[in-house]
């Protein structure tokens, strides 16, 4: 088991009201498993992923990542976990605009001290980025940028990849291609995947689906 969530709760204040986004979520992700987190827009999928990644703080509950409850960890330990154990893929790609493709790909692996030239070369080859290494993000299409983001997330060989609507900004054909690549690379690297999506079609491509509605998982 890579991830175990127990009774996770999170509320936000908006326009003077308290909104309960997650109202007691339980979830388990096994090693090497790819899970689709399905829900409508505003259901709390991104919030759940942010909590797992330690980017936000839960109100209550347990987030057990590889045997460690990250809910109560200090920022420095959370940062260490993020760079070594977790890979993040965002809908908006979030590449570093001032670094070229090669440096963006290697960024997380380098700061985690896990840069592997061989694995890097394999990622570049499989993601089809060989001709784009010296380009900058503004010179790439959406699909190309997302492939770089996926490569960055996998370069450090994390235990768990969290992908938040990774194909949300892509057309259908590109989305299918990117997701297919992602799934293959996840299997090859031996890590688990938890992917948020509102598309049941894309969710069906993964091992398992869980549905988030009214702040609870089913």
């Amino acid at each position: 088991m890579v991830l175990k969530i127990v009774a996770l709760k999170k509320t936000y204040r908006a326009a003077g009201e308290t909104v309960g986004v997650l109202r007691g979520v339980d979830l388990v992700v096994a090693a090497r498993e790819s899970v689709a987190l399905v829900g409508e827009s505003g259901s709390g999928k991104s919030t759940l992923l942010h909590l797992i990644a330690g980017l936000d703080n839960a109100d209550s509950g347990v987030i057990d990542l590889e045997g460690e409850n990250i809910a109560a960890l200090p920022d420095s330990r959370l940062a260490e976990i993020r760079r070594s154990e977790i890979g993040l893929v965002f809908q908006q790609f979030n590449l570093i605009p001032s670094l070229n493709v090669a440096d963006n790909l290697a960024f997380q692996a380098r700061i985690a001290g896990r840069y592997d030239e061989g694995w890097q070369a394999e990622l570049i080859d499989r993601l089809g980025l060989g001709d784009l290494l010296r380009r900058y993000p503004e010179q790439l299409s959406g699909g190309q940028q997302q492939r770089v983001a996926i490569g960055r997330a996998l370069a450090a060989r994390p235990r768990l990849v969290l992908a938040d609507e990774p194909t949300g900004n892509l057309d259908e054909a590109t989305a299918d291609a990117v997701l297919g690549l992602t799934r293959d690379l996840i299997r090859r690297s031996g890590c688990s995947l938890l992917m948020a999506t509102h598309s049941t079609r894309l969710a069906a491509m993964l091992d398992r689906q869980v549905h988030l509605a009214n702040g609870l998982l089913t």
Partner: protein, 829 residues
């Protein structure tokens, strides 16, 4: 450990990669730091140069840094006392000094006894065997600093001639000597000054010769011991001038830091996505902050070094004017070449780094307070900005309260500067709030009465732009306000000075004869002339009042003096009391320092004993750092019989002046510096006055220039961020030329509002300078005059500066290709 260092290296490399795509921002940041450093360090270089010179002068032959024995009445005394004290075990060294005239220049002649001179009194005391021999044996030596040699128009080896006909030994340059001093053996000085066996004071070495008898047993009450001071009289006198310079330098430094703050703030905002990604990828907050700090310090070091070089250049440029100011105001001499210590470099670089960190502090604080997710939300920053503006308004109110407290309860010069500083700070903090309010009112007016959507948008958009431009506008406000304030002060001073000069210089010709006998001869010759000439003898002496050396000026009994003497306050029948010889007028600065007012009595030490005087009035004496008493001329001569009676002031019909001057020169062989007509003296006085404020004018211009650069850099760096606001209007049919014109009008409107708000602030600054700072610094008060044409001129200059600042980004917008604007929409998808 090595993993941690590698991680830090990658983070730093990533942070630095931002500048590749934003060279303008980098230039802005560096320019701001360079300007701030240059202006601050330049001013400090000038101050340090002057203070080194004062210290050299003070340390030399004791000055104020060595304990001295002086006569209680300040007069010269017999060298027998020196001999008695040496025999009694006192390590004393005699010194005779007096001001003399050589080639029309006044210098200090100092006679020393180098064999007994304390070693701590300077390099001259450490003369080696060869130098001593040359100094003490025929033909002897007159040691002088190079600058003094040049100013006297003499060369090494020449024998200077004093006005009394005595000559001094050949001149020899001594680099360690302070300017304005000639040093000879004491025996030579006694002969040249016609004071045989007389000495002015005894320097007391720190190390005694051995067990010494008590002073009173040896000399009775004839001498008193004056302890060494940490500050010399010259340092005290010039403190206010250097404080003024420092205040100016600090203002310029602060304005430069506004540029830095603006650049760093924008950089932080633009790197938000980068920060978020780095944090999401596992860079801890501590590592990110540490590397941001390393980046900032590295940039500050580079900019600081360049700024120090520029500061050195600026100081070298301004040094002649500063030297002229100090000479004119305080008779202080400072060398014309800059020599700086390593401490100046270290202090300057440290100041740059501290300034950079201070300027970046708000950015760091904001970064700490925002969570990683909020950093990605554009509105979070804007909300924070709005809250910050509200807090700024409250802070402005608080600082205003402090300013009022400084005005009501502060009495020192420091409190005066604190008043100025808090006044300016409060105004700067309140500016964005005030502008926001004005724009809000304008927006409502546009929507209700004009119904022109573009006009409404212009006001609303200006309000939104305010947070990004506020720092640059604050810099503009401060620069214009200080310009208005200082120009008003200088203008008021000039207007008052010119009127005062007309009243003080009421004679048409001033002459200084070579001797008392020649003066008497000239007076007899003048009486035989056919022209109607009023002869007004002028006598001067020095004495000590309230622990300070002051001038005594003798007034002739003349109706014109009574009519025009610039009295600020007077007792009844003041002039009658003066004529009786037992009253005095006191100068404004002495009256403030000593707390003297009409009706008070003081006792003045004279050659003939003590002279009790009643204060009959207070008069204006601008530009004179020393206190002055004006007394009846005949009474002054009675009390100071040895004082020279060589000065004559002549009143004659103006058309006859030049002929009289020519005749006097031809008949009595008077040199150019011995005779002057009033128009020349007035012109020279006005020239010195103008030169005195040349440094102020230069610093004013620099400050305004820095503010203009602040505006330019803010507009340039914001230009890219403006596209999402402008692109939709372009898509809706507003042409680029029209958009450019609207942007220009908005910028000029903000600049004009700021400049208009700066005017009343500047007048308040002027009042503070005139009524508080100058009174506490110099001891005199001048009436405040407002010069509307000057205000209009300053406003015009500020608007031209704003126009130049706005031109470059607008030119870019005007020429922007449509593809660039379309990308705004593509990026949002």
């Amino acid at each position: 450990m090595s993993g941690g260092l590698a991680r830090c290296g990658w983070v730093l490399k990533t942070l630095l990669s931002h500048w590749r795509g934003h060279p303008m921002q980098l230039a802005t940041l560096l320019v701001g730091l360079i300007l701030a450093t240059a202006l601050w360090s330049g001013v400090q270089a000038l101050n340090q140069q002057a203070r080194q010179s004062y210290a050299r002068a003070a340390a030399m032959f004791g000055g104020a840094r060595t304990a001295t024995l002086v006569a209680k009445d300040g007069a010269a005394f017999s060298q027998d006392l020196f001999i008695a004290l040496r025999r009694a075990g006192w390590a004393v060294s005699p010194l005779l000094e007096e001001r003399v005239q050589i080639n029309g220049r006044s210098v200090r002649l100092v006679g020393i006894e180098p064999l007994t001179l304390p070693k701590e009194t300077g390099a001259v005391a450490r003369m080696d065997g060869g130098e001593l021999r040359t100094f003490l044996m025929p033909p002897y030596q007159t040691r002088v600093a190079r600058e003094t040699l040049v100013s006297l128009g003499l060369h090494e080896g020449e024998r200077p001639q004093l006005r009394n006909g005595q000559s001094l030994p050949p001149l020899a340059i001594s680099p360690a000597l302070a300017p304005g001093v000639l040093v000879v053996d004491i025996g030579i000085a006694q002969r040249a000054l016609q004071k045989p066996n007389q000495i002015s004071r005894l320097l007391v070495a720190r190390q005694p010769l051995g067990p010494a008898s008590p002073l009173s047993e040896v000399v009775g009450d004839r001498l008193q011991l004056v302890a060494p001071q940490s500050e010399s009289g010259l340092e005290q006198l010039t403190d206010s001038f250097h404080l003024n310079l420092t205040a100016f330098g600090f203002l310029s430094f602060a304005v430069g830091l506004f540029i830095v703050n603006s650049a760093i703030g924008l950089t932080f905002e633009q790197r938000r996505p980068m920060f978020r990604t780095m944090r999401a990828c596992g860079v801890s907050a501590r590592t990110l902050n540490a590397m941001l700090l390393v980046e900032l310090v590295a940039l500050a070091l580079v900019a600081g070094f360049v700024g120090m070089l520029a500061g050195y250049g600026m100081a070298a440029l301004l040094l002649p004017d500063v030297a002229a100011t100090l000479r004119g105001l305080y008779s202080a001499e400072i060398p014309g070449e800059l020599t700086l210590r390593p401490a100046w470099w270290i202090a300057g670089l440290a100041m740059t780094m501290a300034g950079a960190v201070a300027a970046a502090a708000t950015g760091f604080i904001k970064l700490q307070r925002l969570s990683i997710l909020a950093a990605a939300q554009p509105d979070a920053w804007k909300e924070l900005q709005q809250r910050w503006l509200k807090r700024q308004g409250l802070l402005a109110v608080l600082v205003t309260g402090i300013a009022i407290a400084c005005l009501l309860f502060g009495h020192s010069l420091g409190a005066g500067f604190a008043l100025l500083g808090t006044l300016l700070l409060a105004a700067a903090l309140a500016l964005p709030v005030a502008l926001g309010l004005l724009l809000q009112i304008s927006e409502r007016w546009a929507s209700r009465y004009r119904r022109q959507p573009l006009l409404q948008w212009a006001f609303a958009d200006s309000r939104q732009q305010l947070s990004g431009l506020s720092l640059a506008l604050m810099a503009l406000l401060l620069a214009v306000a200080v310009n208005v304030g200082v120009s008003t002060m200088v203008g008021s001073f000039r207007a008052t000075f010119v009127t005062w000069l007309d009243d003080r210089l009421m004679a048409d010709v001033y002459l200084d004869a070579a001797s008392n006998e020649q003066a008497a001869e000239i007076a007899q010759w003048l009486k035989r002339r056919p022209e109607q000439i009023a002869i007004l003898p002028g006598v001067r002496a020095e004495t000590r009042v309230a622990g300070q050396t002051i001038e005594l000026m003798g007034l002739a009994d003349n109706a014109e003096y009574r009519r025009r003497w610039p009295l600020l306050a007077a007792a009844p029948d003041a002039w009658r009391s003066i004529a009786q010889g037992d009253a005095a007028f006191v100068s404004e600065q002495l009256s403030r320092r000593a707390g003297l007012k009409p009706g008070d009595t003081i006792s003045v030490a004279t050659d003939a004993g003590h002279w009790p005087l009643t204060i009959a009035g207070i008069y204006a004496d601008y530009g004179n750092p020393r206190g002055q008493l004006a007394v009846d001329g005949d009474a002054l001569v009675r009390h100071f019989p040895k004082t020279p009676r060589t000065r004559l002031a002549l009143r004659i019909a103006p058309p006859q002046v030049s002929r009289l001057v020519a005749d006097l020169q031809n008949t009595f062989h008077l040199g150019e510096r011995q005779i002057a007509d009033q128009s020349e003296v007035k012109a020279e006085s006005k020239r010195i006055f103008d030169k005195t404020f040349a440094v102020t004018a230069a610093l004013n211009a620099f400050t305004l220039g820095v503010a203009a650069i602040a505006l330019l850099t803010s507009l340039l760096t914001l230009a890219g961020a403006r596209l999402p606001q402008l692109a939709p209007l372009w898509a809706m049919g507003v042409t680029l030329p029209r958009l450019s014109a609207i942007e220009l009008a908005k910028t000029m409107m903000l600049a004009l509002l700021t400049a208009l708000l700066a005017v009343p602030l500047g007048l308040a600054v002027g009042w503070c300078l005139v009524a508080v700072v100058n009174v506490r610094a110099f001891g005199w008060r001048i009436p405040l005059h407002v010069f509307p044409s000057q205000l209009v001129e300053l406003l015009a200059i500020a608007m031209v500066a704003a126009l130049i600042a706005a031109a470059v980004p607008l030119a870019k917008l005007f020429r922007m290709p449509p593809a660039r604007l379309i990308r705004v929409f593509a990026n949002e998808r």
